[in-house]
Symmetry: C2
Subunit: 254 residues, 2 copies
């Protein structure tokens, strides 16, 4: 009987915390990838199974909405399940819970299957039948969307990818992009606000030695009953005129 | 009965790996800090106990010698014990073992106790009597030494610390310095060599927004029976003319 969901327990040490003594968003994304990988392996749709057909999973989009973050010296857990399993992609959701089991936030992700030789989308319909899906399970955050390149930017800087930025697949690590976008904010802003939502679209891979431009645009928002967010940052990581990554985050008062 | 040592088990996921599909040295240092913190807490000499006297631990020096690194999808463990507990500092050692219990490498560290108000060394003699020490336990790597600023540098670059570089104590994270030093190497060098030894001395704290110069000097070595290392990199992270961090690593062929 295939496991319909998978939960990993964590404990947040001091050395793992950010300046606000919380789980960094970049670490949360690394753990989301870890949990997704482990669940996929357990139900027989992991990278090893896809490699039999010369295919692999590529993380395409992440959408995160948090009420608050796991805190230093606290336990938390991440649970994942599959919402859908289509011909060329799969939607996988997550809930992050505190030590009492209360939800701290939710995550939606889209994973595309590509052929490792052609780099074209690969048909995974044959696996779909066996993959345990739970489409009715609530994930009370907006449907995952496509981000667009902002019209203009109010902040830009250059960055060259170095050895510590490269992952086991020889690409720039998905987690590194997240830190580069968050680094467009300053410490005082993050002391007064938390990252209420974070969306990222991975569009093109980057590699060792490449220089990119990290560009962002900040706008004030009018908080509403639905969303307490007061500020948005739209960011792009560009290689020449090609956006490798698009991201958007909103900040809410602590 | 105070616990004379403490062991933490780990499993290396793909998302945690570097480009060589091994545990990154920066992650090893984070885990060393985690394991030291947990052992110190368990034996009653952790940050909470020191805070009663307005004191805190500061990691001063690390010396690591590795035969090889934990590999992707493998288990490993880190064991720590106290070698000495003096008036103003404590020496704490570590062994990293593979899934079969064979040593992969050893670590020596020096931790200084400072007063949080005066920032001066604090006397911890009163705690020494109760702390379980194991001075006879073998740690077969050279005694930890003091590094010196190299005479000249063959590579220099500037870096400005951003929000994701800051730790729970509002300083630049000890792990970030390690990545900045390793980033002086290129991918091809690390594909052909592994970091045989790594020494780092933390001399002065850095803070959000500060710009530092990362400078390094590379020299070829003559490998000997005692050490297979073929290359050394001496690095410094300087704020103006003040070295915040000195580091030295050697590379051996894979």
């Amino acid at each position: 009987m295939a496991q319909i969901d998978f939960t990993q327990e964590y404990w947040l040490t001091a050395a793992q915390c950010n300046a606000q003594r919380e789980l960094p968003l970049s670490s949360l994304i690394r753990q989301i990838i870890d949990v997704a990988t482990e669940h996929a392996n357990r139900i027989g749709v992991g990278a090893a199974r896809l490699a039999e057909d010369d295919n692999t999973w590529v993380l395409s989009r992440i959408s995160i909405v948090m009420d608050s973050y796991p805190r230093m010296h606290h336990s938390y857990s991440i649970t994942t399940w599959i919402e859908s399993f289509a011909r060329f992609f799969s939607e996988r959701n997550f809930v992050i819970r505190d030590q009492d089991g209360n939800p701290l936030g939710y995550v939606r992700t889209v994973w595309i299957c590509i052929n490792r030789t052609t780099h074209r989308p690969a048909d995974i319909s044959a696996l779909a039948a066996d993959a345990p899906k739970d489409p009715q399970r609530p994930c009370p955050i907006p449907a995952i969307g496509k981000l667009h390149l902002p019209d203009h930017f109010d902040s830009q800087r250059e960055y060259t990818f170095r050895v510590c930025d490269i992952d086991f697949n020889r690409h720039v690590n998905a987690v590194v992009y997240t830190s580069l976008i968050i680094d467009q904010l300053d410490l005082d802003t993050l002391d007064r606000h938390f990252i209420r939502s974070f969306d990222i679209n991975y569009q093109h891979e980057s590699f060792f030695g490449e220089t990119v431009t990290i560009a962002s645009q900040t706008d004030n928002l009018t908080p509403s009953q639905e969303s307490p967010a007061v500020m948005t940052l739209s960011g792009a990581i560009m290689r020449d005129t090609t956006p490798c990554v698009l991201a958007r985050l909103t900040l809410a008062p602590r």
